[in-house]
């Protein structure tokens, strides 16, 4: 397990008694969660449990209807100015990569820094190349996403988010759409990122990653946080029966 020296007690995300509905369907029920700077949290749970919706609420890709979400001391409301500020501080990596297919890898990485952060083009390109080197694909910079493998695309997506120099990174099942042989390269990139002290919220089924990197593991079911614990206790002595069942299903095969 990677020891987290970067974890501090300074909260960067505070969620208080948050509820969300899709129509009449109550997806998130009374969620309260605090995340400190540098903390790495893994969220797991069966499909439909609301884990993706939860992290999508943090950069307001989904709108919550009740309760508060405070990111970097700014409360998430309908105010567009606040929202764009928060979104440029919170990076997100998607299950299906969502790279812009009409732009080269380099342009994917420099678009938002140039237009949202108003970085000069040259600086943005230098930063992008630095981060592409960090995810180990600088040689693909001038190719288009369609010419890369899934693992490479996901690493570009990570670099693209990092180019905005975010304080928090959200990962929404980053390895679920990948072939088994490519999962490792993406997980390695994420582990390296964790070592730099990035605050990370990761929705994933990769329990090896959770054991290795997470400061805390959250189990969600039917829109509720059922259990939250450090990885050692979470995997060795789960308290709740539903957690036990879930773990037995994903670990014993």
């Amino acid at each position: 397990m990677v020891v987290n020296k970067n974890k501090s007690s300074k909260p960067v995300i505070e969620i208080k008694e948050m509820h969300k509905w899709f129509g009449n369907f109550h997806v998130l029920k009374n969620i309260s969660l605090g995340v400190n700077q540098g903390e790495r949290i893994v969220i797991c749970g069966p499909s439909g449990s609301g884990k993706s919706t939860l992290i999508r609420c943090i950069n307001r890709l989904e709108v919550h209807q009740q309760g508060d979400i405070i990111v970097n001391n700014v409360e998430l409301t309908g105010d567009l100015k606040n929202l764009e500020a928060i979104r440029s501080d919170v990076g997100m990596v998607f299950q299906s990569f969502n790279l812009f297919p009409h732009l080269t890898v380099l342009e994917n990485c420099t678009l938002a820094p140039i237009w949202v952060k108003k970085l000069p083009k040259k600086e943005a390109e230098e930063l992008a190349m630095e981060l592409l080197t960090r995810v180990k694909i600088p040689e693909q910079a001038l190719k288009y996403p369609g010419q890369l493998s899934g693992g490479q695309q996901q690493r570009v997506a990570i670099a693209r988010s990092l180019c905005m120099q975010p304080k928090i990174m959200l990962f929404d099942e980053p390895t679920s759409a990948l072939d088994p042989e490519m999962i490792k390269e993406v997980l390695d990139t994420m582990i390296e990122l964790a070592e730099t002290g990035m605050t990370m919220l990761v929705v994933t089924h990769e329990m090896g990653f959770a054991k290795k990197v997470a400061d805390s593991v959250i189990f969600m079911d039917e829109g509720e946080i059922i259990e939250q614990n450090d990885p050692k206790n979470f995997f060795n002595n789960p308290k709740n029966d539903r957690t036990k069942l879930f773990l037995s299903q994903i670990l014993n095969h």
């Binding site: 764009e84 998607f94 812009f100 237009w115 949202v116 010419q147």
Partner: protein, 369 residues
């Protein structure tokens, strides 16, 4: 055939069986794959020979290219009588534009290619400078064609006609309707109710009314709707109608393109903190327009050919000029030659548009390279 035995992992790439690739393979597979196919091939070749022989004879070998009338043509040879075209080619191209001033049309037409080059070919050298010329070109073209400034003789629009009129109407309609169509497509997708409703009403009205009706409105009624004192020439009014009409179609084509973009693209752009206009400019439109190229060019080609409808409000497009020529007793009855010539002109223009769109689609295809 004896199979060689290779160790696992050492199987080499073997060439395909002989006679299945290359020119010989193609001929064998496509033309002579069976007895009936071979027969059909031979019969087709013989038929084609006679057909092409007849066509070339009529068009070129037995054709008459200069004569004083149809009767004079027939005395010389029995092929096509192109004299009706060659004797009136000036009218077909320039309408009734004064002969001494036709150089103005020539220059406008030739410089049009320079003005379009940087817009159509993004990789062209010195593009930035050429783009300034493109911006300046509409004023340049207007002054040169209409006259009235810098000592140029003022030409009445009623003298316009022929291919020149088609190109003016077509190019103006195409150039104006694309941006308007984009705005309407975005308006139709907008969250603002007023903008959305106005866009939907405009699109549905324009698509629901025949173009001829709009042209009649342009020629007779438009002045009632405009503030008193404004008086556009009929040419401008017709261009406005063509623009509105095809903009409505283009808007729907582009809306299809916008809806084909996966939701994840917007989410990624949102997550990066981009605002509406940044998303539209960098993510939505480049992808939507790329998807819509075939539909947009389809609409352009339709618009270009529909310019012939102006004949109903008394403007002399190439078909109008052709009819005038046929009404002349000297050329009575040469409709085949006349209409083929006009058709050829339209075909060349539309085929060029179609080839350009294919080229562009290929260039923008970033998936396989």
């Amino acid at each position: 055939m004896s199979e060689k035995i290779y160790k696992p992992g050492n199987y080499p790439d073997l060439p395909p069986p002989p006679g299945t690739v290359g020119v010989y393979g193609w001929i064998r597979q496509n033309l002579f794959s069976s007895i009936s196919n071979s027969l059909l091939t031979i019969i087709s070749v013989v038929l084609l020979y006679y057909l092409i022989d007849g066509i070339i004879g009529w068009f070129f070998l037995d054709a008459v290219f200069d004569a004083d009338s149809k009767i004079a043509c027939r005395k010389i040879d029995d092929g096509a009588c192109w004299a009706v075209i060659t004797r009136r080619v000036g009218q077909f191209v320039y309408g009734f534009y004064p002969e001494a001033e036709r150089w103005r049309i020539d220059i406008t037409f030739l410089t049009m290619f320079i003005a379009f080059a940087p817009l159509l070919y993004p990789d062209i050298p010195k593009r930035k400078w050429l783009l300034y010329f493109s911006l300046f070109y509409p004023f340049f073209a207007f002054v040169l064609i209409m006259g009235g400034y810098f000592g140029l003789q003022k030409i009445e629009y009623s003298l316009f006609g022929g291919f020149m009129l088609t190109v003016i109407l077509g190019v103006c309609g195409i150039v104006c309707s694309l941006p308007l169509g984009i705005l309407l497509a975005l308006g139709r997708q907008s969250n603002l109710t007023v903008v959305r409703t106005l866009s939907v009403c405009f699109i549905e009205f324009m698509r629901g009314v025949p173009l001829i009706t709009l042209l009649f409105v342009a020629s007779s009624m438009l002045n009632y709707f405009l503030p008193p004192g404004t008086n556009f020439s009929i040419l401008v009014r017709v261009i406005i109608m063509f623009t509105f009409f095809s903009a409505a179609y283009i808007a729907e084509v582009i809306r299809g393109g916008i809806q084909a973009i996966p939701k994840g693209q917007y989410e990624a752009a949102d997550a990066l903190g981009m605002n509406y206009w940044q998303k539209t400019r960098f993510i939505t439109l480049p992808q939507a327009l790329k998807i819509s190229i075939p539909g947009i060019v389809n609409t352009f080609i339709g618009l270009y050919k529909d310019t012939t409808l102006v004949v109903v409000i008394g403007l002399l497009d190439p078909l109008g000029i052709g009819r005038a020529a046929l009404a002349d007793t000297k050329w009575n009855g040469l409709s085949t030659e006349t209409y083929l010539f006009v058709a050829l002109f339209f075909f060349v223009s539309c085929f060029a548009m179609s080839r350009y769109s294919l080229w562009l689609e290929n260039k923008l295809n970033t998936d396989k390279k």
